[in-house]
């Protein structure tokens, strides 16, 4: 059983690294978003540093959503999804493996790159760790909520377009607690730990709900 789980995980990681795998696209999209915002708001560093965490969190959220529609669509199109269904491994665990692979190639790099991109929005040094910490803990929730959306839209032709629309409202709690936890480092009444722990709870909850919902959605698609 665990052999099959690891097989899916390793295969997805290898695919993301291969040419055309799109593993690093989320990072480039994240950089692009963080560069675009100051063009809209102006180069005033004081303004940018106040909303730095918000820009970084929005960038990470959108960068995660952008690559999600390919999570199951690729396997659906070339028939490997039928293979995964024929495995003794329960579909929920298969979805868990794919979600984990997606997080490792998308969420984790975003969280690690966030402090560096914080320089572009004059993020103060003491805010860098909170932003990276909240992203590290929050992006799994984004990946697994997104996995449900990806499973629902796997069979559709233009699934890629409606996925963000389906999933974005569900990610609102993650966004709220992620940004408020990061902002606590910029001063303000909210302590860091309260929203951070809620964010951890959200991630753990979506890990379970998202996996089960996505597996159910894949069983419907025929």
């Amino acid at each position: 059983m665990s052999e099959a789980f690891l097989a899916i995980l390793k295969r997805d990681l290898a695919l993301a690294a291969r040419a055309g795998g799109g593993g690093e696209l989320a990072l480039v999209f994240f950089l692009t978003l963080v560069v675009l915002v100051p063009f809209a708001l102006g180069p005033d560093l004081n303004l940018l540093s106040r909303i730095g965490p918000a820009i970084l969190w929005l960038g990470a959220l959108l960068a995660t959503l952008i690559g999600l529609d390919r999570l199951f669509q690729g396997d659906e199109e070339d028939g490997s999804l039928d293979l995964i269904r024929a495995s003794a491994l329960p579909l929920e665990l298969a979805v868990l493996a794919k979600g984990l692979a997606h997080w490792l190639t998308t969420g984790l790099p975003l969280a690690l790159a966030a402090p560096l991109l914080g320089l572009l929005v004059a993020l103060p040094a003491e805010a860098m760790l909170p932003v990276a910490g909240t992203l590290l803990v929050g992006t799994p929730a984004l990946s697994f909520i997104g996995a449900t959306g990806a499973a629902l839209t796997a069979g559709l032709k233009r699934g890629g377009l409606i996925l963000p629309i389906l999933v974005a409202p569900l990610t609102v709690p993650v966004l709220i607690f992620g940004v408020s936890a990061s902002n606590s480092a910029l001063g303000g009444t909210v302590p860091f730990l309260t929203p951070f722990l809620i964010l951890c709870a959200l991630s753990l909850a979506t890990l379970v709900i998202g996996t089960i919902a996505a597996a159910a959605a894949l069983r419907q698609a025929d």
Binding site: A19, E24, L25, L31, F39, G42, P43, D44, L119
Partner: protein, 252 residues
């Protein structure tokens, strides 16, 4: 133009480039050595910025090379689309990572130069921001190369993207300048203008030529590698089919 066509033949290019390569590398090494010696030990410190002016000796050449390589890619893109020059998209593909690296060097050295001067690593200065946007364009082009694996089709697609980007670079430069001056009073960062001290101009020019030769040498090596990669790819497919036919004959 005739020589350009002759160069088209990959094997001739491979022979020519292997002869040229040692000269490029030798000259680049010499110039860089002399340039760095002058930059560090001979050039005086700037009266206003002190020693940090020495970062200029890598920052400015890197900016030039980022732009120069993008222009080379634009010319190669024309070569692919208009003159159908077979080596054009090889040159184009080989140039992208090198240009991107120099843009990255320009950004990093710019940030490290900015910290002692303005107290923060990144200021949305007009020129630095333009290089940042250019860096994003480079990343886009390299991403497109990675997603399209069939060389001939990919070459034309990337050529179009490069040319579209090339047309936009001046527009971006203008709009960033406008955006920057609109919001911020005249930027403090004025060094590097033509009026710099001659004792600094010489090391800068020597280093610039040195870096350019190094970049061109790298470009040649990258092109050779790309030509061989394509040859390996076609030979592997050909080999697989040949063995397949052989196995089929044996089976009958």
């Amino acid at each position: 133009m005739a020589s350009l066509i002759e160069l088209a033949n990959p094997t001739r290019f491979m022979r020519l480039s292997s002869r040229l390569l040692p000269w490029f590398v030798g000259a680049a090494a010499l110039l860089l050595a002399v340039g760095f010696y002058l930059a560090f030990f001979v050039a005086p410190a700037d009266y206003q910025q002190g020693e940090t002016i020495r970062i200029m000796f890598v920052h400015v050449p890197a900016a030039w090379l980022a732009l120069m390589f993008y222009s080379m890619m634009a010319v190669s893109a024309l070569g692919t689309l208009v003159w159908r020059h077979p080596l054009a998209d090889v040159a184009q593909k080989a140039a992208a990572p090198i240009g991107a690296c120099f843009a990255l060097i320009c950004l990093i050295t710019g940030a490290l130069w900015g910290k002692p001067m303005w107290g923060t690593y990144w200021v949305w200065d007009a020129r630095l921001t333009s290089v940042l946007v250019l860096f994003l364009i480079y990343l886009g082009i390299m991403a497109l190369w990675r997603t399209l694996d069939d060389p001939s089709r990919a070459g034309r697609a990337v050529a179009i993207l490069t040319l579209v980007g090339f047309v936009n670079v001046p527009i971006i430069k203008f709009s960033v300048d406008w955006w920057n001056t609109l919001h911020q009073p005249a930027s403090v960062f004025r060094a590097g203008g033509p009026t710099i001290h001659p004792a600094m101009l010489w090391p800068l020019l020597i280093l610039a030529v040195g870096f350019t030769l190094l970049a061109l040498a790298l470009h040649l090596v990258a092109m050779r590698a790309e030509i061989m990669r394509r040859r390996v790819r076609t030979l592997t497919i050909f080999e697989a089919e040949r063995l397949d036919r052989l196995a089929a004959e044996v089976a009958i």
